[in-house]
């Protein structure tokens, strides 16, 4: 099709299907409309509704871009990103010490992980886990060179995995580090093999450590057009398009993605880093005690453990159901818990320079009020910095990231960026603020006037700054704090959002009371300030 004036962008997740209509208006691409629905809904029905609404809203525009023709549902070009189904990797090593970096690499590349070593699981247990039909691939590794604790069991581990490979010829086997030297055992194991036999670097090799193995495992987990991998590419394009450091946090049904990207400087290419953690899903497939505890820690709803477990199980079975009222608050508590898992699993990305913009995306945020999403992100991704928080409301990052040509991807992103990112809030999070009396003052100069605030340690202050408005915040602290750099006087540019400007003087990282009732009251008081439309 030559030079289409409009196309449809699809992000097809495991739980959510999103459709967006993009059209060329004037000399640039614009987002015309979009809709997210549960994944079981017929796609053409969603497309038809999006097109119908676009036509009703602006008939001349619909005529211009050709979205009002009878066969538009099927004739408009489609740009599709699809989430790969979750896959399970069995990780085996000769010792617990050798197992840890292998498991870490596997967990950060999006696999569901079953880990075992002969130190803690007997060979019968390891064989049982390898023969489990839910396991799609096996990573068996050793240090390079193998440690003294590994050498004694290396042969037995290799024999055990090779025997499982004989019984399951469809399994993909990855030999990492010194285990590669035992390749002949696996080659001899079967001429009938359908699964791949791959050699991989040790889990402790590369810079940053483990990256080569992670990249290999990511390639193995999902095809290149997988939504999560596409979002990682889109992060780099977005950073280039807006010339800012960007962090994307995606919480979905089957995992969470954290992608950080910096724009290129002086013709050099920018940098990007992404981790996809299956454990950082909205609700795990098996709601165990740990999962209940994680959500309970963020819940603002008075609920006992049994009822919460039931609600989480229902959320797993029907992730879009019961999304209003108490359901909305529990969903946001689950999203916070998942985000905390994601942040904890990616310490290297937390150590990078703070981003200028955090973009939230994924089904977990799809139906929550925007300001509440901003607070949820600020609660968990705590960086001593001034940053913006935005929402990829039409879920365009994945389809845009699936465009193979990098230049085309950046151009499209540059055109649509203002439409695709809903500004949620600007957040100022100073670090190292001493508890006690007033820490200083802040003055916000914006088009609508000047606001003056006292800086109270531990507080969360909200300054009304609507979307589209920009201003400058001047902060004068009594003592030295961290806000990007260290100092006492700062002036930062701020932009408006649905939640306005948040001055967050709470601890970094956030410290909450141990007692659940007090913790709940505190979380609720913070949330009340932003979830302003909530019915009481």
């Amino acid at each position: 099709m030559s030079d289409p004036r409009a196309f449809l962008a699809f992000d097809l997740g495991t739980a959510t299907s999103s459709v967006a209509l993009i059209a060329r208006v004037g000399h640039r691409w614009r987002l015309i409309g979009g809709l997210s629905m549960p994944a079981g809904v017929e796609l053409d029905a969603i497309v038809a509704l999006v097109l119908e609404r676009a036509t009703t809203a602006d008939p001349p525009l619909a005529r211009l871009i050709g979205s009002d023709v009878d066969d538009a549902v099927t004739s408009l070009p489609r740009l599709i990103a699809r989430s790969a189904q979750p896959r399970r990797l069995a990780v085996v090593a000769a010792s617990e010490r050798a197992l840890a970096p292998l498991s870490d690499a596997a967990r950060r590349s999006g696999w569901l992980v079953t880990a075992a070593s002969p130190e803690r699981v007997d060979p019968l247990g390891v064989t049982t886990s390898l023969l489990d039909p839910a396991v799609d691939a096996v990573l068996v590794g050793a240090g390079e060179p193998p440690g003294a604790d590994e050498r004694r069991s290396l042969d037995e581990v290799a024999s055990l995995v090779a025997a499982a490979a004989v019984r399951r010829p469809e399994l993909t086997i990855v030999l990492a580090g010194a285990m590669s030297e035992r390749l002949e055992r696996f080659e001899a194991a079967g001429e009938q093999r359908q699964g791949e036999l791959l050699l991989a670097p040790a889990a402790t090799s590369g810079d940053p450590v483990g990256r080569p193995l992670r990249e290999l495992l990511e390639d193995l987990r999902a095809p290149a057009d997988d939504s999560r991998r596409a979002i990682a590419r889109a992060a780099a394009a977005l950073a280039d398009a807006i010339d800012r450091r960007v962090e994307i946090v995606d919480i979905g049904f089957n995992g969470g993605l954290r992608a950080t990207a910096s724009p290129g400087i002086g013709g050099a290419r920018g940098s990007a880093n992404a981790s996809f953690v299956a454990d950082a899903c909205l609700v795990p497939p098996d709601v165990d005690d740990a999962a209940v505890d994680r959500v309970l820690a963020w819940s603002t709803v008075p609920i006992d453990r049994h009822r919460l477990r039931d609600r989480l199980r229902e959320l797993r079975l029907a992730p879009w159901a019961d999304a209003a009222g108490v359901g909305a608050r529990l969903r946001l508590a689950a999203a916070r818990a998942a985000l905390a898992v994601l942040v904890e699993a990616t310490p290297a990305q937390s150590a990078e320079a703070a981003p200028d913009l955090i973009v939230a995306t994924g089904g977990a945020w799809a139906v929550a009020p925007g300001p509440a999403v901003a607070l949820a992100v600020a609660d968990v991704v705590r960086r001593p910095a001034a940053l913006g928080i935005a929402l990829d409301h039409a879920r365009l990052l994945a389809p845009f990231g699936s465009i193979p040509d990098g230049t085309e991807r950046r151009q499209l992103m540059g055109d649509v960026v203002d439409d695709m990112l809903a500004p949620l809030a600007s957040v100022i999070i100073p670090g190292g603020v001493r508890a006690g009396h007033a820490a200083g003052r802040m003055t916000v100069h914006a088009g609508s006037g000047t606001t003056d605030l006292e800086l109270v340690p531990g507080s969360l202050e909200l300054v009304d700054l609507p979307p589209g408005e920009v201003g400058t915040a001047e902060l004068r602290f009594r003592d030295t704090v961290r806000l990007g750099g260290r100092g006492r006087h700062f002036a930062v540019d701020v932009a408006g959002g649905l939640g306005g400007l948040l001055l967050d003087l709470r601890d970094v990282p956030l410290r909450l009371p141990d007692r659940l009732d007090r913790r709940r009251e505190l979380l609720e008081s913070w949330q009340d300030s932003l979830w302003v439309t909530r019915d009481r």
């Binding site: 004989v166 709601v287 199980r313 079975l317 159901a321």
Partner: protein, 344 residues
């Protein structure tokens, strides 16, 4: 003419025509059927080792061309070498060879798993599973606790012309031995105590719309104790149709169950569902505008689709796409599309 917006409501399949069911095999277990075998209900398909353990045998005592997964039998000839001297295992499943010895999985006590359905064995893989192409149709649930089982369907929760009784709650005292051998439909929810009593009275299974996590945990603990006993009761299974919350069985599903009352049915665990082989029974398709509320304020209620309501503000300041549904009141109410399901 149904408003076209109903396509935006998720469809739930009531009955599937064909299905493959799977019996799990673990290392040490033995398949008693082969690929291509035709089986009838009650055929033993798996010999399960109750407490598998790992033992070593010297490699010379194993055939030179043996492969992992092969069955090993204790040599009986005078050439058995050191195997003669010890009380070692008489049989087991070869796992792997290392250091001149084979590791094998074996156990003292075995129990037999019978297929509750007729069909043709499609695949047998030692240590992995037996796959059976089942004859008949399947009504899918979300979870099964227990073992595959078979019995005559009896309905406590589907009286009143096939309508599920909202909020029906079966007490332990409601059960009697007259129900032995049956699979009982109990409606919206059940307690662990009732499940335990049902199993003790010889019922073969229970079908329930929702099972709360606490009851699930208590029943599983009881089931675990039962498994540990030497003299086991007949197989028993709990089929959960919807999830963890209390809600009535959906009327199209209740209609299927009602039609099957008095017939032999089977509960299978993988996939979780109710299998029945009654080709003579035909089910009327549900009304095309029938929708059921899956979650939220009206959870469990059914009604008729009226049309799209557009983006609506719901409790808690959440904006959701909604549809108008008649749920019995004088006027239709707006319900989030994501809370609805239709049947097909």
């Amino acid at each position: 003419m149904i408003d076209s917006g109903i396509e935006l409501v998720q469809r739930r399949v009531v009955v599937d025509d064909r299905t493959d069911i799977r019996f799990a095999l673990h290392p040490g277990d033995r398949a008693l059927v082969g690929s291509g075998d035709t089986v009838v209900p009650g055929t033993r398909v798996v010999e399960r080792v109750r407490d598998p353990r790992l033992v070593d045998v010297p490699a010379p005592n194993v055939d030179a061309d043996a492969r992992p997964g092969d069955r090993w039998m204790r040599p009986t000839s005078a050439d058995a070498g050191q195997m003669r001297r010890g009380p070692g295992p008489s049989a087991g499943e070869l796992l792997f060879e290392a250091g001149g010895r084979w590791r094998l999985a074996t156990g003292e006590h075995v129990e037999h798993i019978e297929t509750p359905v007729a069909g043709v064995v499609r695949d047998v893989r030692a240590g992995i599973g037996v796959t059976l192409q089942a004859e008949g149709r399947i009504l899918r649930g979300v979870e099964v606790l227990g073992d595959p089982t078979r019995g005559v369907l009896a309905g406590a929760g589907i009286e009143h012309g096939g309508e599920a009784v909202p909020g029906l709650f079966l007490r332990p005292g409601s059960l009697d031995v007259g129900l032995a051998g049956s699979i009982l439909v109990v409606g919206s929810r059940i307690e662990a105590e009732t499940l335990t009593r049902a199993r003790a009275m010889g019922l073969r299974g229970v079908i329930v719309a929702g099972l709360a996590g606490k009851e699930r945990r208590d029943f599983m603990a009881s089931e675990s104790r039962q498994r540990a006993a030497l003299h086991r009761l007949p197989t028993f299974a709990v089929l959960v149709l919807d999830g963890a919350f209390r809600r009535p069985i959906a009327s199209p599903i209740a209609a299927v169950l009602h039609a099957l009352v008095g017939r032999e049915v089977a509960i299978v665990t993988d996939p979780p569902g109710l299998v029945f082989n009654e080709p003579a029974i035909e089910f009327d398709p549900p009304a095309p505008d029938l929708v059921r509320v899956r979650g939220g304020e009206h959870a469990g209620r059914e009604g008729h689709w009226v049309g799209l309501a557009g983006l609506r503000r719901f409790v808690g300041g959440t904006f959701l796409e909604a549809g108008w549904v008649h749920v019995g009141g004088p006027a239709p109410v707006a319900i989030a599309l994501a809370d609805l399901e239709r049947f097909g």
